[in-house]
Amino acid sequence: MNYLMQSAVCLLEQAAERFKNKIVFEDKDGAISFEDLRTKSRIVGSELLEKVETGRKCPVIVYLPKSINSIISFMGSLYSASPYVPIDYAIPMARMEKTVENLRPTAIITDSEGKEKLAPLNLDTTILIFDELVNGQLNDEAVDMALDSVCDLDPAYIMYTSGSTGVPKGVTISNRAVLDYIEWIVETFPIDGNSVIGMQSAFHFDNSVFDMYTAFYTGAKTMIIPEILFMYPEKLMDYMAESRISVIFWVPTVMISVANGGVLEKPLPDLKLILFAGEVMPNTQLNIWRKYLPDCMYVNMYGPTEATDIATYYVVDREYENHETLPIGKVCANMRALILNDEDKQCKVGEQGELCISGTGIALGYWNAPEITAKAFVQNPLNTKYHDRIYRTGDLVYENEEGNIIFIGRKDSQIKLRGNRIELGDLESAAAAIENVDSACALFDADKQEIVLFIETAAEIVARKFKMELKKYVPAYMVPARIVTMEKFPHTPSGKIDRVGLRKEYIVK
């Protein structure tokens, strides 16, 4: 096996040789070593090569509970030269159907419970049971041949995010992007073979790319924290202490709930490095962390899924007042940031504009969606010399005097809620499809951090029941906190729903 790093799974190949029997992952059911992970993943890869069509255009959906088995399936897909697609085990079936329709996967790896849930959809794709795959036949020769066929610009994974018209978008990320990202991580932060990473992210969020591949690169151990513990901050802290976790990369929502829960008084002597990304981290809660854990390194990171998790970062290097804004900092190695104003000219220091990103870390595009890809991934308007692709994030920012980027907000109606990226239009189209709903309008209450859904209906609607109905179509995190019904929406003179008026009357007091 040569070590041309053309596939993200080469990191596991290397790790298995370097770290052998050392434990790489632990979940609530057990632990696995680097070597065993490699062998089991190669078996899954062999089975895929044997049973289905594989390759860069043949993605494999992994539909399993958050566990070591998911990781074996991801790596197995890569060993068969196919990209993997992590899907939330709690996904509503209507959304699964739309995802499969867009993706056209070569296979779905799941368990018997997942298979049962999928049965009514009558999907035109092969469904494979994980337990059967992992107990299959190892064919190293076939796997090595498949690996040799991979180029680093082939897709490694596809992650689905909310799309404004109700169709999820499949962000397609190359092997090279993953390799560059992880190389930057290990060059920049103190993580080594003694580190213990406490994984919070779900696999269908790209923060999980960090938790998995950093372990391969450094020999660190990643503890897959049982999801249920995030509902109980105090117990979560007990788990952290008992597991001797030294590195975390969490969404601010979780850090906020720990800070507000008043549970940081219990000592966490092993914790050294605290990374966060996915939404704005308020200094009020960060300062609570810093008070109890003053010697930790804190890093505010920023990045859309389209930029392989992280594009910019800021190591917190001074005190911040509660009301101040934490910068999102400077770009990562091998990436470039560009702030463009409304006329597509480069913004001056202090001038507000749209953040655009280029480099090998940006996505190949949205899977099987050339039109929306062409809108978001465009030629750099400042470069006429050669093909220079940039990703327009839709995020409004400015650069301060120190050269740090400050995040302001969104250009469109996309929001971030508890780390989840939500297109309000996505929720509106789901709500409008429910019986008796004439029209729906979703607004975000930024102060309360909740979605308010307005429904135009002549019928009597029970909020709890309506929310349950919505959950059949959208993920639980998109379900609005408040529902307001009315017989007729107010309209602007041009005939559109008067969103400003609704906001004034029902949200701003």
Binding site: P226, I228, L229, M231, E234, D238
Partner: protein, 81 residues
């Protein structure tokens, strides 16, 4: 067991302002069905720890599901016996 369930039901009904609702049974998933929000989970654990003078550890939470009145009561009863 019945007594624990009664105590739990009364606490949850009052705390989370649940009217007499035929869907609110001992085996309904409190969180998925929207009767209790995720923040309420901590309050329920706190309540049973105080009321029965027991400690629910991180391992209990990881290993035993506590999503219904039935399931929570079972954990409490095992702790008490």
């Amino acid at each position: 067991m019945e007594e624990i369930k009664d105590t739990l039901r009364a606490f949850i009904q009052e705390k989370f302002e649940i009217d007499d609702d035929p869907d609110f049974t001992d085996d309904v998933h409190l969180f998925n069905e929207g009767f209790v929000d995720s923040f309420g989970a901590v309050e329920i654990i706190h309540f049973i720890e105080q009321t029965y003078n027991i400690e629910i550890t991180q391992k209990d939470i990881t290993l035993y599901p506590m999503n219904t009145i039935e399931e929570i009561a079972e954990v409490v009863e095992n702790k008490l016996s």
